[in-house]
C-alpha cells in the first residue's frame, strides 16, 4: 500500500462527513468510532510497511497543488515521524471513548470536529512540503476553537478559545515567513521557488540567513510547544477546555515535533550556535513548570504545568544535538501521548463523576474509586520516569546526553525530576488518599468496563515499551543518525 498516508488523511474528514448522515446521534457516535478505528488500523499498516533500515522519507506521494508557486501536496514519513501516526490515532480514539457519554450537546458536531482535528494533526506529521505543513498546522486550530468554546467546562471557555487561537495565529506569522525566506533563498540560488522539505534541506544558506530562519521557526514553534514565557494559554485551556480534549494538547506536542523536523535540520549551524538558547529555554521551562505545579490545587492545572515541565526536558534533549538526545526527545514525545494523554483522560473521568477536579471536591477518592486511583498513580509514576515504565528510557537518554553536553542544565534537570515527584505525589495524596470528606466522593463509582479497557490499553503500552523499548529505538535510530549527521 503505497498510498497509505493519503488514505489515512482522507479517512478522518470522510468520517466527519458520514457522522452527519447517520440517522441517530448514537449511530453517529458509532460511526465516528469506526472512523477512528479505521484510522488507527491504517496508521498501524503504515508502520508495518515502514522499512526501519532506511533513513530518508518513505511512502512519499506527490501531486501538484499550486503550480505557479511550486507548492505540492507531498506527504511522507521517516523514523522521526512514523511512530507519531499510530500514537496520534490511538490518543484520538481514546478521547472519543472518554467522551462517549459525556457529550450531550450537539454530539454530531462534537464528533465531526474531533475527526477533523485528528485529520489535521496527522497531516502535520505527514507533510513534507512546508506550505502543506503550514496548511495542516493552521487547520488544526479551527476544530479546537469550537471544541473549547462549545464544550469547555469553565466559565471563561470563550476567552480561552480565542486566546489560544489568536496566539497560534500570531505564531503562524513567523513560521510562514521562515518558510518563505527558505523558498526565496532556493530561488536566489537559481532553483526557482521551492517549498519541498527535501529540496530545502539540500539548499545551503548563509550564516545570517540561517540565523533568521532559525529564530523565525523557533518563535513559531515555541508558542505551540509551549515554551516559557508564551505558555500562558496551556493552564488556561486546561482549566476551561473540555477535559478529554485537553488530553490532545498535553499528549501531542506539535511544537516540539516542529523543532525536530524543521527548525533544527533547516538551520543546523544557527541551531548549534544558539544551543544555549534552546537548552536555557528548556531548563527554565522545566524548573518553572515544576515549581508552578507544586503550587496548584487542581489536578488539571497541576497536569498542565507538569506538561510544561516535561516538554522543557525534551528541549534539553534536542539541544544536546547527539543521537541519544534526539532519540530520547522523540521517545519522550511519544511517551507523552500515552502518559500525559492518559492522565488527562483519567482526569476527565474524575471530572465526569464529581463535576470538578479541585482538591476541595476530592479527598479520599481512592476509597470509592480504587481502580481509577491506582491507574492515576501508575500513569503519574510513568510521567516521573520510574524504571519499568516508558518514561524511563526516554528520560534516561535525555539526561545522559544533557549531562554530557550541558552539565549544569543536566543537573538542574535531575533536580526538576525530584520536584516532579514532589508535586505529583503531594497532590495525589491529598486528592486520593486520606478520609473521604465530600459527599460526592462517597457516591462515586469506579471505572466502568469501557473506561477500564481504554486505560488498560494505555497502561499495557506504557509497561511494554518501558520494559522493552528496543523496537521503538530501532525505528527512530536511522533517521536520528541522519539528523545528527546534518549537524556536524
Amino acid at each position: 500500500m503505497s498510498d497509505a498516508l493519503t488514505w489515512l488523511l482522507l479517512v478522518y474528514p470522510l468520517g466527519a462527513l458520514l457522522v452527519w448522515l447517520a440517522p441517530r446521534p448514537e449511530s453517529a457516535r458509532a460511526l465516528a468510532l469506526a472512523a477512528h478505528v479505521t484510522g488507527l488500523a491504517i496508521a498501524g499498516l503504515a508502520l508495518a510497511n515502514f522499512d526501519p533500515a532506511q533513513s530518508g522519507f518513505q511512502m512519499l506521494e506527490r501531486a501538484a497543488w499550486i503550480p505557479s508557486l511550486n507548492v505540492h501536496y507531498a506527504v511522507g514519513v521517516d523514523g522521526l515521524s512514523i511512530l507519531f501516526l499510530p500514537a496520534t490515532a490511538l490518543l484520538f480514539l481514546g478521547v472519543t471513548l472518554a467522551s462517549w457519554n459525556a457529550v450531550r450537546q450537539l454530539p454530531r458536531l462534537y464528533h465531526s470536529l474531533l475527526l477533523l482535528q485528528a485529520g489535521a494533526t496527522l497531516g502535520v506529521f505527514c507533510a513534507v512540503d512546508t506550505i502543506l505543513f503550514f496548511l495542516f498546522w493552521e487547520l488544526s486550530l479551527v476544530p479546537f476553537y469550537f471544541l473549547v468554546s462549545l464544550w469547555g467546562v469553565g466559565p471563561l471557555r470563550g476567552y480561552a478559545a480565542s486566546k489560544y487561537t489568536l496566539i497560534m495565529f500570531a505564531g503562524g506569522v513567523p513560521l510562514l515567513f521562515g518558510f518563505i525566506v527558505l523558498a526565496f533563498n532556493h530561488a536566489a540560488l537559481g532553483g526557482g521557488l521551492s517549498f519541498d522539505l527535501a529540496e530545502l534541506l539540500a539548499t545551503p544558506l548563509t550564516d545570517r540567513q540561517e540565523l533568521v530562519v532559525f529564530l523565525l521557526l523557533l518563535a513559531g514553534f515555541a508558542v505551540k510547544t509551549p515554551v516559557f514565557p508564551v505558555h500562558t494559554w496551556l493552564p488556561l485551556l486546561a482549566m476551561e477546555g473540555p477535559v478529554a480534549v485537553v488530553a490532545l494538547l498535553t499528549g501531542l506536542k506539535l511544537g516540539a515535533y516542529g523543532l525536530i523536523r524543521f527548525a533544527v535540520p533547516l538551520a543546523p549551524g544557527a541551531a548549534q550556535e544558539l544551543h544555549w538558547l534552546l537548552a536555557g529555554l528548556g531548563t527554565f521551562g522545566l524548573l518553572y513548570g515544576a515549581v508552578a505545579a507544586l503550587a496548584q490545587t487542581n489536578l488539571r492545572a497541576m497536569l498542565a504545568y507538569a506538561s510544561l515541565s516535561h516538554v522543557g526536558l525534551v528541549l534539553l534533549g534536542i539541544a544536546s544535538f547527539n543521537l541519544q538526545g534526539v532519540q530520547g526527545a522523540v521517545l519522550q514525545l511519544l511517551n507523552f501521548a500515552l502518559v500525559a494523554g492518559g492522565l488527562f483522560l483519567l482526569t476527565a473521568f474524575v471530572q465526569r463523576r464529581l463535576g470538578s477536579t479541585d482538591l476541595l471536591a476530592l479527598g479520599g477518592a481512592a476509597r470509592t474509586m480504587p481502580l481509577l486511583a491506582s491507574f492515576f498513580l501508575f500513569f503519574g509514576l510513568a510521567g516521573m520516569g520510574v524504571p519499568g515504565t516508558s518514561g524511563f528510557p526516554a528520560e534516561l537518554l535525555i539526561l545522559v546526553s544533557a549531562l554530557q553536553v550541558h552539565t549544569g542544565a543536566g543537573l538542574a534537570a535531575l533536580f526538576g525530576m525530584v520536584l516532579g515527584a514532589a508535586y505529583f505525589l503531594n497532590l495525589y495524596r491529598r486528592a486520593f488518599l486520606g478520609p473521604v470528606t465530600q459527599p460526592g466522593v462517597d457516591q462515586a463509582v469506579d471505572l466502568k468496563p469501557r473506561e477500564l479497557a481504554l486505560v488498560l490499553v494505555f497502561a499495557a503500552l506504557i509497561l511494554a515499551f518501558g520494559l522493552y523499548p528496543a523496537p521503538l529505538l530501532d525505528v527512530i535510530r536511522p533517521a536520528a543518525e541522519a539528523w545528527v549527521a546534518r549537524l556536524s
Binding site: I66, L69, I131, E138, L139, S162, T165, V181, F184
Partner: protein
C-alpha cells in the same frame, strides 16, 4: 494590445448580452409590478446571468493575450461603446453574477417589502456593474458608475428600517458624488491631454489613451484624482467615512453586498489607472502604500471598539481593502495576481458575512453585539459560514485568502523588505482578533437574558445560500490553480509595463 472580436470566437455578442439581460429583466419587472411571477422572473434572470458568466469563462481562452469578445459601436463621438474582456474581467464578471444571484435568493428569505421593486433595482445595478467591468472606455465607466451608485443609494435607504436611514443615505450620496466628480475630472484630464498632444479627436478609449504617455506633472494630478475618486467607493482609508454609517443604518445586506462584494474600485485601478499612468505610479507608490499600511491598523483598531456587528464589519472591510492596495502597489506580476485574487476573495467572504448577518438580523431584529449570543446551537450552519468567511478574510490556509495573501506577502518582501511586510501580516492577525471576537459574541456567547422566543432554525433556502458560499470558498481555496491561470496573462502584460515580471 490586441483584440479578438466576438464574431471570431463566439456565436453571439456575449458581453452585450451580459449587460442587457439584467437591464431588460429590471425593466420587465417594473412593468409587471408586485406579483409572484415577477419575483420568480427576477431570480430566473439572475440565474441566467450566472450561467452566462460561466459560459463566458468556458469560452474564454486563457492563453491568448489581449482582449477577447471585443465589441465596438460608434455612438456619441468620444463616448463610443467599446467592450472587451481579459482574464481579470472574467473573474470579476463571475463574482458579480454569483453575488447578485445569492442576493436575489437572500431577498426571498428576508421577505423584504416590495420584492419585485427590490429585484428590479438589484438587476439594474448588476447590468450597470457588468458594463463597468467590460467597458474599455473611461467615460463610459464613469457614467455607468454614476448610475450604479445612484441605484445603490436607493437600495441603502429604501429598504432600511433604521430611523437614521436618511442620514445614511445622505452621507452615501455626499461622499460618492465627490468621488465621482474626482473620477470624472481625472478622466477628462486624460482625454484632454491625449487631444492636446496628438491634435486628433477627443477620445476616452483605453487602447487609444494607452498609446500616448501622459506628461509627468499632469499625470500626477490625474493619478490622484482617479485613485481617490475610485478610493471613495472602494473604500480606501482615509476616504471610508461613509461606510460605517451606511453599514449600520442602511438596508442590512443587499446594498453592502453589492457595493463591497464586487470591488469595482480595485478593478478600475488595475484596468485603467495602472496601465495608463505607469511612471506616475512608480513615483508615488511609497506614499500610497504608506497610507494603506496605516489603514490596515487604524481600521483594525476601530473595529475592536465597535458594539454593533454591522459597523464592525465595515471597519473590517476598510482594513482588508488596505491590504489589497498594498498588494497592487507592490507592482509586480505575483503581487497583481495576489491582490486581485485577494480582492475577489474578500468580496465573496464579505458578502457571505453580510448575508449571514442579515439572517441573524431576521431573527433578532438587532445586530448589537450585546443583544446577540446563543445563536450557534440553533443556527450552526449560518454560524459556520460566518466563521469560514471570517477565516477567508484573515487568510487561513484552505481558503482562497491564504494563497492570495501568500502571493502578496512574497511580493511585499521583494518590494518593501521583510519587516514592513511582517508588520502588515500582523495587521492580519489583528483582523483575526476582532473577527473571532465578533463571532464569539454573536454566536457562541450565552444568550442574553430576556430573549423571549427561541431562535428559529435555518430554512432550506438559508442553508442553500450558506452551503453555496462555503463550498465556493473552500473549493477555490484548495484548488486555486484555475483562478491563478485565469488572471495570469493580462497581469503579466501589466507587470511588463512596470518592468517587474
Amino acid at each position: 494590445m490586441t483584440e479578438l472580436f466576438w464574431n471570431q470566437h463566439a456565436a453571439w455578442p456575449l458581453l452585450a448580452t451580459l449587460q442587457i439581460l439584467p437591464l431588460a429583466g429590471a425593466a420587465l419587472l417594473l412593468k409587471l409590478g408586485e406579483r409572484p411571477l415577477a419575483t420568480l422572473l427576477g431570480r430566473g434572470v439572475a440565474l441566467a446571468e450566472l450561467l452566462l458568466a460561466i459560459l463566458l469563462y468556458r469560452v474564454f481562452d486563457g492563453h491568448a493575450a489581449g482582449y477577447q469578445f471585443a465589441e465596438r459601436l460608434d455612438l456619441l463621438g468620444p463616448l463610443g461603446y467599446h467592450a472587451g474582456a481579459d482574464g481579470v474581467t472574467v473573474l470579476f464578471v463571475l463574482l458579480c453574477a454569483l453575488i447578485v444571484f445569492l442576493v436575489t435568493l437572500y431577498g426571498l428569505v428576508r421577505g423584504l417589502a416590495e420584492p419585485a421593486r427590490l429585484l428590479a433595482v438589484v438587476l439594474a445595478t448588476q447590468g450597470l456593474m457588468m458594463s463597468m467591468l467590460t467597458t474599455l472606455n473611461l467615460l463610459w465607466f464613469v457614467l455607468a458608475s454614476a448610475a450604479e451608485l445612484a441605484l445603490v443609494g436607493h437600495l441603502v435607504g429604501y429598504w432600511s428600517t433604521s430611523p437614521d436611514k436618511d442620514r445614511a443615505t445622505a452621507r452615501f450620496y455626499q461622499f460618492q458624488s465627490v468621488g465621482l466628480a474626482m473620477l470624472l475630472l481625472g478622466v477628462l484630464i486624460l482625454g484632454w491631454s491625449h487631444h492636446d498632444i496628438t491634435g486628433g479627436a477627443w477620445t476616452f478609449d483605453l487602447l487609444d489613451l494607452a498609446g500616448q504617455p501622459v506628461p509627468r506633472s499632469l499625470g500626477a494630478v490625474a493619478f490622484f484624482l482617479l485613485f481617490y475618486g475610485l478610493g471613495v467607493r472602494t473604500p480606501i482609508f482615509p476616504l471610508h467615512g461613509w461606510l460605517p454609517t451606511v453599514a449600520q443604518h442602511g438596508s442590512v445586506a443587499v446594498a453592502p453586498a453589492l457595493l463591497l462584494g464586487v470591488k469595482v474600485g480595485i478593478y478600475g485601478l488595475v484596468r485603467f489607472v495602472l496601465p495608463l499612468l505607469p511612471e506616475v505610479v512608480e513615483a508615488w507608490y511609497p506614499y500610497v502604500t504608506g497610507f494603506a499600511a496605516a489603514g490596515v491598523f487604524y481600521a483594525a483598531l476601530l473595529a475592536f471598539q465597535q458594539t454593533n456587528l454591522r459597523r464592525l464589519m465595515a471597519f473590517a472591510v476598510v482594513s482588508h481593502t488596505s491590504l489589497v492596495v498594498i498588494g497592487i502597489f507592490s507592482l509586480d506580476h505575483v503581487a497583481f495576481q495576489g491582490a486581485l485574487l485577494l480582492a475577489a476573495n474578500f468580496g465573496l467572504a464579505a458578502t457571505a458575512m453580510m448575508l449571514m448577518t442579515g439572517f441573524v438580523y431576521r431573527r433578532t431584529r438587532t445586530t448589537r453585539l450585546d443583544k446577540l449570543g446563543g445563536l450557534f446551537d440553533r443556527i450552526p450552519l449560518i454560524g459556520l459560514t460566518y466563521l469560514v468567511a471570517g477565516l477567508a478574510i484573515i487568510g487561513m490556509p484552505g481558503t482562497p485568502g491564504f494563497d492570495a495573501a501568500h502571493l502578496v506577502l512574497e511580493a511585499g518582501i521583494h518590494r518593501f523588505g521583510a519587516l514592513p511586510t511582517v508588520a502588515a501580516a500582523l495587521g492580519n492577525v489583528a483582523a483575526a482578533g476582532f473577527l473571532l471576537w465578533a463571532f464569539q459574541r454573536a454566536f457562541l456567547a450565552p444568550a442574553p437574558a430576556g430573549r423571549g422566543t427561541a431562535i428559529e432554525r435555518a430554512t432550506a433556502m438559508e442553508s442553500l445560500i450558506a452551503a453555496v458560499l462555503v463550498v465556493v470558498l473552500l473549493w477555490s481555496g484548495f484548488h486555486m490553480g484555475p483562478w491563478l491561470e485565469l488572471v495570469d496573462a493580462p497581469l503579466r502584460a501589466l507587470a511588463e509595463r512596470f518592468g517587474h515580471v
